[in-house]
Symmetry: C2
């Protein structure tokens, strides 16, 4: 599980697989950089100042993020 | 073009269709809330403190964001 390549990443590990969507205040995507090879996804929750790392590979993360960019299709223009 | 429903949104309009990917420091997704009905996507650029709204409907946005959550597939575990 240890990924030594992630030297200067914000997230120490892959992060949680999901958080309650209603508690999400914002989601921050940090793209790969020289200091951290993998994209990182950090959520800020409404009921705390804490930031949680969200596993980019989890189904929840993918779905949640895709909803943000796909939303408009529901509005039918 | 005016969307009166967006009363308290961070973004005044739909935002730009793209920004140079190399300049992206982070991307913030703000989910819909009682004060702003539509998801908003805000990028912070490396060379400035300015934040830009990114059009969630643009191809660039969708691709860029999906890359973050799909990345691992390239690593073949």
């Amino acid at each position: 599980q240890a990924r030594v390549s992630k030297s200067r990443c914000f997230c120490a590990d892959k992060g949680v697989k999901m958080v309650p969507p209603k508690l999400i205040e914002k989601v921050v995507i940090i793209p790969p950089s020289p200091s951290c090879k993998t994209p990182e996804i950090v959520v800020t929750l409404k009921n705390s100042t804490e930031q949680k790392c969200l596993n980019p590979e989890s189904k929840f993360t993918k779905k949640y993020i895709m909803k943000a960019v796909a939303k408009r299709s529901l509005e039918k223009k």
